[in-house]
């Protein structure tokens, strides 16, 4: 069986760790690349080799394809895994990788181009009889033209980056007066994120569900789908909670959406792992949204219910191995949920949080999975995105999965950086989520509940008590440090001392 010889992982954070683990389990040596900000990162330590590729800004490191290919050559890698984000959907990079004599672990550049430009992708989908939402037939840069189209399809509309993905470069416009400014900002953001400022206009379906289908295509013409992921819990088009199966997808809809996704992949000559995103309305009509020509952040929930390791499948497909199974072999068992744990402050409008991770407590137990780039001592800065870890649970049914997720989230503790863990916990207490009948308007509709302070008097009192005692201990600690006595001594002993002495003054 052919096998890759050495894989360079052109990414950082949890996805680099994810890919490195898969390589290690496959017995394939690995090469990491890192920016100067990431010298201490987990992915550097888990790789067999690690090369510094430049300063922290991504444009000078993780987005510099030439530098990365030069490292691949120097390290003797025969293949490159791009992860998600960064260069993963850059067709030129995929082509350059192949031109350098290396294997790109992903689709061919041609498939990316076909799907990467959202406008030509839509045309192709229409030809393949995949339903699409109405919108502009091409790129828009003139505010007047944008206005004309928006008025013909009716507000609200979305301005979307033609090269976009992952929720970036999207603006929703509710009325004509907002159009010019939104167009301006979307273009600027798109330029910065994707090196292309091209945007287009599409009808904004109000409160649809966001449901996507995972596909796998080998280099021998076999294409299968692995069912859906429900990703409607979003804030600003960023997914926060994903689950599978979706409460709105029954066997018939799954079969139809799956067939559409397979048709979409075939229509662009797709290879390797990819995801076809759809919007689903309450009548179970579905519309092609876009194809993500790479691994998704939320891929683990599909792995948990199908038993198929998507990254190892990627490695094998890239090595020209056949899939080894057919659509009929794909079985779904149980229910899986993922949450994205991010460095942000939900109590202050979700602003990104920075700091040094002082302490980390991860949940354990059965059917709890953690894919993380976070580690103690890690500096969380502003150069890269704010996702620290993914927490994934599996269970026999949705109710059990929710109970397990709540249990695991309650065990997940981070100090030094604020996270959205409290916010995530409340998602699983929200009646709308529990009912399974939610859509992309979920977070906005439930924001008051999601941010609500606890009502239990006892819990609040315990927080107050803990605050008073923590204050006393910290004050005494800093006094002791100033006088040179003690120092970084055993904190637990310290606490006892503080209880016995500090508070007894």
């Amino acid at each position: 069986m052919s096998k890759l010889k050495k894989v360079l992982v052109a990414n950082r954070g949890e996805i680099a760790v994810r890919v490195l683990r898969a390589c290690r389990e496959e017995g394939i040596p690995t090469v990491a690349v890192y920016s100067e900000a990431d010298r201490n990162a987990l992915h550097v330590r888990l790789a067999d080799e690690a090369f510094c590729i430049g300063p922290p800004p991504a444009l000078q490191s993780y987005l510099d394809g030439d530098k990365i290919l030069a490292v691949a050559k120097r390290a003797g890698a025969d293949s490159v895994h791009p992860g998600y984000g960064f260069l993963s959907e850059n067709a030129d990079f995929a082509d350059a990788t192949v031109a350098a004599g290396l294997t790109f672990i992903g689709p061919p550049g041609s498939a990316m181009r076909a799907m990467g430009n959202k406008i030509s992708a839509k045309a192709r989908m229409k030809a393949a009889k995949v339903p699409c939402a109405p919108g502009s037939d091409g790129e828009i840069d003139d505010p007047a033209e944008a206005k004309r189209i928006a008025e013909s399809i009716g507000f609200p509309v979305m301005i979307k980056a033609a090269a976009g993905g992952g929720g970036k470069g999207i603006r929703i416009v509710k009325e004509a007066s907002e159009l010019a400014r939104a167009l301006d900002m979307a273009r600027s953001e798109a330029e910065k994120s994707f090196k292309s400022g091209a945007v287009y206009v599409e009808k904004f379906l109000e409160e649809p569900r966001h449901v996507e289908i995972q596909v796998l295509a080998d280099r021998h013409g076999n294409v299968v789908h692995l069912g859906e992921r429900e990703c409607s819990v979003q804030r600003r088009h960023q997914k926060i909670v994903e689950e599978t199966p979706s409460c709105i997808v029954d066997a018939d809809l799954r079969q139809r959406m799956g067939a559409a996704a397979v048709a979409a992949a075939q229509a662009c000559g797709y290879e390797n792992a990819g995801t076809v995103e759809f919007l689903v309305d309450k009548h179970r009509n579905f519309y092609f949204l876009e194809m993500n020509t790479r691994l998704q952040v939320e891929h683990p929930i599909t792995e948990q219910v199908t038993g198929i390791d998507l990254v190892r499948a990627q490695l094998r497909i890239a090595a020209r191995q056949p899939l080894g199974f057919t659509q009929a072999d794909v079985k779904h068992a149980g229910h899986a949920i993922e949450v994205r744990i991010c460095a942000e402050d939900p109590d202050h409008n979700f602003v990104p949080a920075t700091g040094v991770v002082r302490h980390l407590d991860l949940p354990g137990g059965g059917r709890v999975r953690i894919d993380a780039g976070i580690y103690e001592g890690m500096t969380v800065g502003l150069h890269y995105d704010s996702m620290l870890a993914k927490l994934i649970v599996r269970a026999n049914d949705r109710e059990e999965a929710i109970a397990r997720m709540k249990r695991a989230l309650a065990e997940f503790h981070v100090t030094g950086v604020k996270t959205n863990i409290p916010f995530l916990l409340r998602v699983f207490d929200t009646p709308e989520f529990l009912s399974g009948k939610y859509d992309t308007g979920f977070i906005d509709r439930n924001l008051a509940t999601l941010k609500a302070p606890p009502s239990d008097g006892m819990t609040r009192d315990v927080a107050l008590v803990a605050a008073a005692i923590a204050h006393a201990i910290r004050k005494r600690r800093s006094q002791t440090a100033n006088t040179g006595a003690g120092g970084g001594a055993n904190e637990s002993a310290w606490s006892l001392a503080a209880r016995r002495e500090g508070l007894r003054r």
Partner: protein, 168 residues
């Protein structure tokens, strides 16, 4: 010892009595027997109130603490008797408001006002980029720009002053 804990705009007095064998706290009229132990290198406290068990994560130093308990976060200000007394002495001149602070760390992309401009609530003052997203910073009241603390291209920390407004 007495502690004053501010949370959600409300202040609570916590009385700590450690004269007996156990620690007793009085708060809002309720009396609790409490046992506290620092765990996980002091990053968490295991709190037993009577026999009910709580694990509290504690972040921050000094007077401002962030606590997480039962999946709820509390931003808390604390001071003890003595601190309150000394603060009362030094607090003779008030600080005054009207300063718009950055709630997040980021890079200033555009500054759209200058000193002397009259602005209305909701007007855009500047654009702050963080995590590749552009965020508009808007005036939170009608007023006149008294000072612009930052320039385009500058990196700012969370809590940094951006623009001072003289509010009408």
């Amino acid at each position: 010892m007495k502690y004053y804990v501010m949370v959600g705009g409300k202040e609570y007095a916590v009385d700590v009595d450690t004269t007996g064998d156990a620690m007793h706290l009085t708060l809002d009229g309720a009396n609790y027997r409490v046992d506290v132990s620092a765990v996980q290198h002091g990053e968490q406290y295991s709190v037993l109130v009577d026999e009910r068990s709580f694990a509290v994560s504690v972040d921050g130093d000094g007077r401002k603490l962030a606590l997480v308990l039962d999946g709820y976060s509390y931003a808390v200000g604390v001071e003890d008797d003595r601190e309150r007394a000394s603060r009362a002495l030094s607090n003779l001149h008030g600080s005054g408001g009207g300063v718009i602070e950055s709630v997040m760390p980021g890079i200033v992309r555009k500054v759209e006002v200058q000193v002397g401009d009259t602005v209305k609530r909701g007007d855009r003052l500047l654009v702050l980029e963080a995590m590749k997203m552009e965020n508009e910073i808007l005036a939170d009241a009608d007023g006149v720009v008294a000072k612009v603390h930052v320039a385009a291209g500058q990196t700012v920390e969370g809590g940094a002053p951006l623009v001072s407004l003289d509010v009408k």
